[in-house]
């Protein structure tokens, strides 16, 4: 059993190497994780210097003769180094994404397995609730939850996690329904294994593929939605270096010609989401050909 699992994993890695776009996506993810972990080493400056260096506010970066030395991407309205804030922002966005997806996974897997495995009225109740949650556009639901539980980065993570739960529950449920019909599960039932044992030993391990695939794709949208909440002023609050929040007053920057303040944080979001989408698509092709559309 253990050996078979290992070969499956190594096979997946081997096939990932041949999928160029997925490799590219994985490379971006690794870079992001490294940036997040070593932000204090890589970043040239303090992302939240106090007191703010107002004398050097909205200065351009390396492309201009007026640029400051040691602040390659220029400075924002409070004279803070844009590059350093983006690098520290990786920490914020990535951890927000992981926490949100983690919440969605824990809740979604629990509800999905209960619904799929037990069926009947339990399934009906859970799935109707999922339908109701799906009646709200995801971002709107997140905004509503933030309105109730309060604003801020940690609240935004929780809100996004809750919003993504029904999606995860639905995916897990359908995968459980598929596995449940397999003969070896029937054998387990016939042998008298208990429900919990069947779920943890057989159903759950076989749902890993869709969880990884959709978890990766969800991470991409979670980063996007978290940035959107930050942009709207409902997520990360200043002075936290968060990509979305960094863009929230961009109107005034672009009018004053400071295009770099409004441009680079968006590029950071774009590439993170792009990388995760590529990786997710690639993993889907490799791990679960059934899901290929």
């Amino acid at each position: 059993m253990e050996k078979k699992k290992e070969t499956r994993a190594t096979e997946a890695i081997r096939r990932l190497k041949y999928n160029k776009s997925a490799t590219f996506g994985l490379a971006i993810l690794i870079i992001l994780i490294l940036c997040a972990i070593f932000a204090n080493v890589i970043a040239p400056n303090n992302p939240i210097p106090s007191p703010p260096d107002l004398a050097n506010k909205l200065k351009p970066g390396f492309w201009s003769a007026e640029g400051l030395k040691g602040k390659p991407l220029g400075t924002d309205a409070l004279g803070r180094c844009v590059l350093s804030r983006i690098i520290y922002g990786t920490r914020v966005s990535l951890s927000a994404g992981f926490v949100a997806v983690g919440i969605a996974m824990i809740l979604g897997i629990t509800f999905g397995i209960i619904a799929g495995y037990f069926g009947g009225w339990v399934d009906a109740v859970i799935m109707r609730f999922v339908d109701i949650m799906f009646a709200f556009p995801a971002l709107l639901l997140a905004i509503v939850i933030v309105t109730i539980i309060g604003q801020g980065l940690s609240k935004a993570m929780i809100a996004i996690g809750i919003v993504y739960t029904p999606q995860m529950a639905r995916i897990i449920r359908s995968s459980v329904l598929y596995i449940k019909e397999m003969e070896y599960i029937e054998v387990q039932t016939a042998l008298g294994s208990r429900n919990l044992r069947i779920i943890f030993r057989h159903v759950l391990p076989n749902s890993v593929a869709p969880v990884i695939v959709y978890g990766t794709l969800m991470l991409a949208t979670a980063i996007l939605d978290c940035a959107a909440l930050g942009f709207l002023g409902l997520g990360a609050q200043p002075p936290t270096p968060e990509w979305g929040a960094m863009l929230s007053k961009s109107y005034s920057y672009i009018v004053s010609g400071a295009w770099w303040v409004a441009t680079f944080p968006g590029i950071a979001i774009l590439f993170s989401v792009l990388g995760l989408n590529l990786l997710g698509d690639g993993l889907r092709d490799i791990l679960d050909p059934r899901l290929k559309t």
Partner: protein
């Protein structure tokens, strides 16, 4: 067919009920006394007591829900704390703006997206295919608010081609009839207003339409590739039909089914995107209204918008499902 539509309509009942309960719960779950939540923090004792009386807030929750639901069904979603206007009125006043924006965004998305997908599929593995799909990949990964900011910066601030915020040039006299600016300017024969409205629409619509455009392009491509592999296409070609006719008439028509589903599914994204796009471009629609309401803690307005958004979303999904059966009659036999 009738049976399918009836069944689909019946399925709406629990969802709408759930949506209403969730929206109702918004005020109940908000921290503090619901009467103060609805009246605003600075309301007088009389106002608070009047609201408590009006909504039966001293009665059990189920009673409160029924009182509230009855009012909502009569079109009364309470008064905004900020403006003291009826929320329904505030929403309906802004609704045409959001409709016009989303309509244009969707039109751009469908036209450009499906065309790009068809072109890509008919020249699979060409440079054109790779570059179109590359652009589409960027399109689906782009934060809509950032794209809006970039468009605003390039075409509004640097090139000065297009206006960057608002709905219409305030110097142009404009008479509001339906609230749909394009329609109103046509009715009144107001050509400057029409042109101005279009100019103000372009950037927000492109920003909002890009993500669905990219998704539609990707789905159209894969769906076209599947259709192009089928036998009847080979027959068409063997018959000597021109490639153009084969692709645009026979293949494209059959490839559009999944595209319609995607269009329906994207509507939710479009509504969420409208919240962000309207905020970026100061577009006076419901999306911007709900964000301002959240910021001002105008709970009745938030509640009204949420209910309204969810209702629209549910209705659009219903229309998509029904449309699907009309286009693909095989479904009803399931």
């Amino acid at each position: 067919m009738k049976w399918y539509i009836t069944k689909r309509l019946l399925m709406l009942v629990p969802v709408l009920l759930g949506v209403s309960i969730l929206s109702f719960a918004l005020i109940q779950l908000a921290p503090g006394d619901p009467a103060i939540t609805m009246a605003g923090e600075h309301a007088s004792v009389q106002t608070i007591n009047a609201i408590r009386e009006k909504y039966g807030l001293d009665k059990p929750l189920t009673t409160q829900y029924w009182i509230w639901l009855k009012r909502v069904l009569h079109g009364d979603m309470g008064r905004s704390i900020v403006s003291n206007e009826y929320v329904t009125k505030e929403i309906l006043h802004r609704f045409p703006n959001t409709v016009e924006l989303t309509f244009f965004a969707m039109a751009i998305a469908i036209l450009v997206g499906s065309f790009a997908g068809i072109i890509s599929a008919s020249r699979q593995y060409s440079i054109l295919d790779y570059s179109t799909m590359g652009v589409a990949l960027f399109g689906v990964s782009m934060p809509v608010f950032w794209l809006g900011i970039m468009l605003m910066m390039i075409f509004g601030v640097f090139l000065r081609w297009l206006p960057i915020s608002g709905r219409i040039d305030s110097l142009i006299p404009f008479k509001r009839i339906t609230g749909f600016y394009l329609l109103d300017s046509i009715i009144t024969g107001n050509i400057p207003a029409f042109i101005s409205t279009i100019r103000y629409l372009i950037l927000p619509s492109i920003a909002l339409g890009t993500i669905p455009m990219a998704t539609i392009a990707r789905v159209t491509r894969s769906s076209m590739l599947e259709v192009l592999r089928q036998d009847f296409i080979r027959t068409e070609r063997a018959k000597g039909l021109s490639e153009r006719l084969v692709i645009y008439k026979h293949a494209a028509r059959n490839a559009m089914l999944p595209v319609i589903t995607v269009i329906g599914l994207n509507f939710g994204l479009l509504l969420a995107g409208a919240i962000l796009t309207e905020t970026v471009f100061s577009w006076p629609g419901i999306g911007r209204y709900v964000i301002n309401a959240v910021r001002m803690r105008d709970y009745p307005a938030v509640q009204g918008c949420v209910l309204f958004f969810a209702f629209m979303f549910v209705i659009v999904n219903l229309i998509t499902d029904i449309l699907y059966v009309f286009i693909d009659p095989r479904i009803k036999y399931k």
